[in-house]
Subunit: 276 residues, 3 copies
């Protein structure tokens, strides 16, 4: 247990609830409703807008912007690029959820453009997506080949890979999956919360990225914001799992996860987050 | 209590259930699923369609059209304008939910165009959105400045403002928030139902607009339809709140609100609506 | 009871769970989240992508493609056509859910183009949609007029109509509604599961089409896949209805249907499916 960090994320949760920051999302149409309710559950306020005619204006009145590449098209990619640049210009913290990077050349290319044209406070993805981002960087800057490792056994290699990639991309990485790791290239934190059943609910990753967005405006650093978001999501996943009734499955689990974030207290998250 | 109005909205609910009107929505992709299930819950039938190639045809077979500006783009704005004009031409009742009017110039301008090119039976929004609409009208027609008032104390000023705005916009306004007010510029009704926790569920406003759409085809006047919708939403919010279990939060609350509308009876709404 | 078919669909469910096929959807934004969670509930993996810049790549790595015309626009229609042709070229099974065919000329024309340019393994729709498809075929090929019959009394005519239409369209039809019928033009199966209340939940048809997509990659034939999907949906509808609490309605029913599929076992589906 890292007592100071645990206390910090509890305090941060209270700050979000006291200030209700507006979190602008340019996101996919699959999990967008869950992201909106999750943003409300943590105590922030969501707004979704993706037209090129308004994203610059919308991000300018927001406290953070979450860009999620779950369902892309020409119009929304242009809006993502414009909004990301505007966020950077205005000093508004920016989150990237590179959903499906590597699955198609279009997604990979879109993520490459986003990384080239904007600086992200936090990038949250699964290990496979983060590997693609690391590879992009290598292609672009000619650095050494992407580390390959087994997620279960080679924790040291994974740790080094994530720290290096965070430094290369000049961001804070939140890599979520079997193990959750946050690193800004200098500090690293393993978050041992969550349940494997969360993978059977669509959008748990997207919702976690919304939480990162909600924490960023109040956080001392993107690192703290990302640790808080991942810990909240994992803790809520555990609480919600405990609340499931025998005949319930992934649809009820989705609702119970959002409900658990809604009811999460600063004391609870400080107590139950397993940070290492 | 306004006994006659209470009885009328109960009767109207039964009429909707008996006739299952088709309610065409051009709406946002955030809360669209909740709007569809809410439309089914009240006993109507939803259809969502936003392509310029079909909105005129779709609205022509519908009993009402709900236009919601929650997520706009060039294509859907063109469809909104075309469908709204077709609805007017065919005498099909039309609802506007001007989500985010005032938040960006694009939204404000879109709402201005909609108001210029079509006549809406009911406009449902929060006070801030309705103020923007009133301002538009002033800019456009050079009338006196928007009234400014404190929503809690200055109820008389608010009442006058809403009645005046309804007359100026030649519509029925349903202003929802801490207090819910419906006025067609001639009559006014305060609806004292609902729970503050409804603001922590995304889409309660959008769902209320869907209810307005469902009530309009069977209602004697847009005023009755709007009162019925706001009263149903508020009453359902109270019932659903009472059904929440200790560990439940905003995601379960959303489901329980829709469930409460599904199970709402004419007697219940006539009895529990607090109209003044 | 058709004991062999019952056993086969139980076995098929286990195969889906063991192999987690990737199911690409080009679908509407109303029920997309439910389709994603339903795909996860049955044990498959969903991916939604509709940009012309990536649908060919995405379908090429998928095990099946589900095309749903619930919310169409120029961009997604082009993507549907491109992805469908690519699926055919790669031998990837293809499902069509012709939502709203007949409601507007645009929908009907889009479905006509899809049928002309691609061959679908399974088409799942309600009787009204399938009639429109049969009519298209007649217009195109100059065959005799669409059979007209009463769904309740004239079961023989309906059976003949569905078998003939399946043969003419060279596909397997899954017609769902008051009675569920699957036919590949040679075999026919009546599935007597489900509850009328399922019609008050938006997207039960769309979710059923997602299940067809999930079963197709592992199934011996499209006929078995369609029977399995319709039987799972109907059985889950019955189980979920039994799990509803007194104050629950269509929103909770939606969740409980997905939950029931999540918890459905091979033995349960083999036992409870009423196939004839």
């Amino acid at each position: 247990m890292r007592h100071q960090l645990n206390t910090e994320i509890g305090t941060l949760l209270d700050k979000v609830r006291a200030s209700t920051p507006l979190i602008h999302h340019i996101t996919n149409y699959v999990t967008v409703n869950d992201c909106a309710n999750m943003t409300l559950a943590i105590g922030a306020s969501p707004v979704m807008a993706d037209s090129i005619h308004e994203v610059r204006d919308m991000v300018s009145i927001a406290s953070a912007l979450v860009i999620n590449t779950g369902t892309l098209n020409e119009a929304t990619v242009a809006s993502m690029l414009a909004a990301a640049k505007q966020a950077n210009a205005k000093g508004i913290p920016l989150v990237l959820d590179p959903v499906g990077a590597g699955a198609t050349p279009y997604r990979t290319e879109t993520v490459r453009q986003l990384l080239q044209q904007a600086r992200f406070s936090v990038i949250r993805g699964n290990l496979s997506e983060i590997r693609v981002l690391a590879g992009l960087d290598e292609q672009t800057r000619g650095v050494d080949a992407t580390a390959v490792f087994d997620t279960n056994s080679q924790q040291q290699e994974m740790q080094a890979f994530i720290e290096n990639t965070a430094r290369k991309l000049n961001t804070t990485l939140a890599v979520t999956g079997a193990i959750d790791i946050v690193s800004d290239g200098r500090r690293i934190c393993f978050i041992k919360n969550g349940r494997p059943e969360m993978a059977r609910v669509t959008g748990t990753g997207c919702m976690c990225s919304s939480l990162v967005g909600a924490f960023l405006p109040m956080a001392e650093s993107p690192f703290i914001a990302a640790v808080a978001a991942v810990a909240c999501m994992g803790t809520a996943g555990e609480i919600a799992y405990g609340n499931l009734l025998p005949q319930e499955g992934n649809a009820s689990y989705r609702n119970r996860i959002i409900d658990a974030v809604y009811n999460l207290t600063a004391a609870q998250i400080a107590e139950q987050a397993r940070l290492k």
